[in-house]
């Protein structure tokens, strides 16, 4: 094997490894905000559990959710719940539709391709080619 080909293959391998590494780094980067949010949520839940272990657990829970919740929080909860329901519903619906459409298209295209293949084969047969 010529040396230049080896060098090229090595460069290609290095490049592919670099791509994999960069892809993993990117995937890690986009998961960081999610993990940060999970950490904050866990911390908030831990603080709340500690507080709820005390004497006035139920009244404080009621007060915080009922009287101390700001209008923004209530709006966010309602919007969040609606968004979540809509998101889950659309996801289910659309996912099913995309999968169905894709399989239908694939079947149709495959049939057409087979038809094209058989036509080419028969044309070759007419010309006496193998």
């Amino acid at each position: 094997m010529p040396e230049s080909k080896l060098v090229q293959d090595n460069a290609q391998l290095d490049f592919s490894a670099g791509i994999q590494k960069a892809d993993r780094l990117g995937a890690f980067l986009i998961s960081l905000p999610k993990w940060a949010a999970y950490a904050v949520i866990a911390w908030q839940i831990r603080l709340s559990i500690e507080a709820l272990v005390g004497k006035y657990a139920f009244p404080s829970l009621l007060t915080r959710f009922w009287r101390q919740a700001s209008a923004w929080e209530v709006v966010c909860w309602i919007a969040g719940m609606l968004g979540l329901l809509l998101g889950l519903y659309s996801r289910r619906l659309l996912n099913r539709q995309v999968a169905r459409d894709l399989s239908r298209l694939d079947t149709l295209e495959k049939r057409l391709d087979d038809l094209a293949g058989s036509r080419v084969g028969s044309a070759a047969g007419d010309r006496g080619q193998p």
């Binding site: 990117g26 404080s60 968004g83 996801r91 459409d101």
Partner: protein
Amino acid sequence: MTPTLPFLYLPDAVTLILLLLVLDALRRVAVIHIRQELLIIRKEMLAFRLAGDPARVDAGYAALRRLIDSSITLAPRLSPARLLFIYRLLRKSVKRGSPAPPPDPAREVGDRIAGASDRDCREKLRRLQMEMSLSLGTFFLVASLSGWALLLAAMPGMMKRSITHHPEHRTDAFFDMAERVLGRLGRHAQRIGALTEPPPKHQDTRS
């Protein structure tokens, strides 16, 4: 004497969880939406094929179909933050003058389409490829937080450039530029995203 009630962070945790879930759901819905758009393009391609000779497969047609299928698979990975490091690596390798430049699927498909003998077919496939790039570019910019950040960073420059045009043509100039930028972004995103795919085990020989 009224007891001092401890302050609870539970509602804040609930808000944050909801926010996370909603953002995640939005991203997933955006991915399904782009898949649907790409499927619509594929359906249009099929309708065009059926309108002509269905048994005839053009090389450009088959290549564009493969590109659309690959984009459908790649869609969840297409976001500026995810592809940033690959983009940097690619730029570095281009600057260094890499011996084997990475493939550019969109350009290869464009070349195949340009080689089509039928003019109608060529124009149609070219338009569909452009539509695909535009859809991917829009998805790349709108369907993720990093995309929004990129959009915010790019918007002032685009506005500034369109303001320098004559007031009558300002809107047209802005949309022309947006179309160009989105098309280019879509092609680049597709190219960079395709690099993360494992190489195909067998080559489709139909084309």
